[in-house]
Symmetry: C4
Subunit: 211 residues, 4 copies
Amino acid sequence: VGWVADVSAELGETGRLEAFSDGVFSIAITLLVLEIKVPQPTQSGEPLAAALWRQWPAFAGYVLSFVTIGIMWASHHKMFMLIRKSDHNFRMLNVLCLMFVSFLPYPTALVAQYLREPAGRKTAVEIYAATFLAIALIWYGAWRYAIRDGRLLGEHVEAARVDALSRQYAVGPAAYAIGFALSFVSPAACLVWLGILALFYALPERRSTRV
Amino acid sequence: VGWVADVSAELGETGRLEAFSDGVFSIAITLLVLEIKVPQPTQSGEPLAAALWRQWPAFAGYVLSFVTIGIMWASHHKMFMLIRKSDHNFRMLNVLCLMFVSFLPYPTALVAQYLREPAGRKTAVEIYAATFLAIALIWYGAWRYAIRDGRLLGEHVEAARVDALSRQYAVGPAAYAIGFALSFVSPAACLVWLGILALFYALPERRSTRV
Amino acid sequence: VGWVADVSAELGETGRLEAFSDGVFSIAITLLVLEIKVPQPTQSGEPLAAALWRQWPAFAGYVLSFVTIGIMWASHHKMFMLIRKSDHNFRMLNVLCLMFVSFLPYPTALVAQYLREPAGRKTAVEIYAATFLAIALIWYGAWRYAIRDGRLLGEHVEAARVDALSRQYAVGPAAYAIGFALSFVSPAACLVWLGILALFYALPERRSTRV
Amino acid sequence: VGWVADVSAELGETGRLEAFSDGVFSIAITLLVLEIKVPQPTQSGEPLAAALWRQWPAFAGYVLSFVTIGIMWASHHKMFMLIRKSDHNFRMLNVLCLMFVSFLPYPTALVAQYLREPAGRKTAVEIYAATFLAIALIWYGAWRYAIRDGRLLGEHVEAARVDALSRQYAVGPAAYAIGFALSFVSPAACLVWLGILALFYALPERRSTRV
């Protein structure tokens, strides 16, 4: 008795967790565009093209944040090919992680607004880099929690695939910690570094690291 | 004749109800960030960090509302491990509940705006606490409706699990009624209490109450 | 050859159509809250409660639009218990219908803004009622298209259930046409009528009309 | 060992890719309405109807962008009736494509704002047309990537269906390249052309091109 409901509940669990996460990822990624404001027509007769050109930090921020969230989503997707169960703690770690993901439109707007203001630039980029670092850390913590003793893994998951993903995920916190450190030295270097990371993760995978 | 369609319709029912609810939860939770406004550069040369510091009620409101909606989602998810059917009335109760969930960005912005204004602070916190209370009450009503005579429960659901969840859900209206009452006495005490509730629900569950 | 792919494509078809529609319904319903603006603190020392009280058309519009979209979603859900296939034309009718559903936040904001302005009130309510009428008409057209010769119905759907839903859906265009006509006579009467319709659809169904 | 997990992971893959894409499509399409601003009551006593009438570029832009995104979604849906697997590169191409889809509310607002300003009109329409062209190009690239050697196609997909879709998708880049070229000659001609394309794709399909 109860067996059927239990099994299907168990199976259904990551389904809704994935659906909810997909929802937050896709909304956060789509809200980014709302932070790019249409320039108002000016009296001075400045051409629209020039006004748009001055907006380049907003466009650059859109691209960097969009690609980064897209990569996180793809990574989340990979994680759930191996994770097949969920429990209360894992769901809460996931909610915590999504809290920083859906916060991203704010630091993105901050960077877009202050990148050309010498006064606030550094603070804005620090907060932007800190948000990425927070996501990487919570993500890695959630993964470690899930694989301890195979707690939330599927039945027939090979240890080699888990280890490969563990190695890959361990890079994240280190890479974004470097980005965060760079933000205190040079905002420009920090953003270039974050861009390189996004490119690195987005580029075609070598076969050996493919999961 | 019609049996196949009926059964699959029955099975499909909570699927779409859950998908629609997941949509509303994930959007409401992600819209919260839109209420945090990027501070405009000032003439006075105030550092950006100071301007952001003054925004702390917006950040605190973001965290409190995000975690609370996240907990509600997790709770909704638990509920639908036991509920396997839906009918018109239950769907309408669900829509009513979601109406207050997706209203949350407004009272959150209200608290963020008025927390440092002695004049409006109390009214803002009262409305914030009232929204939480409304959600808890409708939620509990929907659950009682669903389990009466096992109306919408799955086939093989154990009575013990239903009772455990009933006990857990009965705490919500009482806890948020205390929060609402506190908002009339002291806005600060009310917010602390709502924070404690969020932490309490988010913390690891003891084994005995796990569902 | 190709049989397996065809069948699963056929089955998958309404799945994605429903998922996309659920997305639009849940986002449109959640965006409504963004149209309620937090009142700015005033110099005149007006209490916040009074400022909120003056906002009542925004709150009333939120409730009316939210409940109406919720009912449409529930109705869409019912429709797809019987409809099991989709084709290009039906998908395009669905996109057309969703175009007016996701437009709703705009006329809702229009009514909220102009309900207390004698000059624009009538125009605002006319547009609000026209949007509801357009949805009801396209909806009914899509349903007629889907059931002609059982084109998109599931395999074992009983004719009686289709007829019951046809009768129910035929009421919509008539009811919202009355609402649209009323908006030219009296904006207040129109809104009361739209409220009655929402209540009527949201209230518990009598057994005889249940689908 | 690992076989069950691998197969279900493989099957699950396009499921989440489709869910994430559906999310972005449905959010981008619904955010369009936020770019239509409610006109403020004026002192001059201009009737609301006249103020709304002056907003016609915003309404036209809403309709054109909504229908175009709706068609893209329907097309994405068709594509995934044949594509049954995904890999890292395909997911990244998909994220790139969605980056331009979810950018659409911005050029739509740009056109709505500048269509009646002789100075900025051409620039605004150029950016609008360029966004559509970018989507069509990435889309076509993703499709070519997916079908090379049947890489990501389902098991029993008929070559004739793949070829039919290839022919259909090849039209997109050419058609939108014409639109982009037209935007440099005449913004009006460009928008009429984009409208014709939307109508052409939305109209009932002839049986021979149906997939």
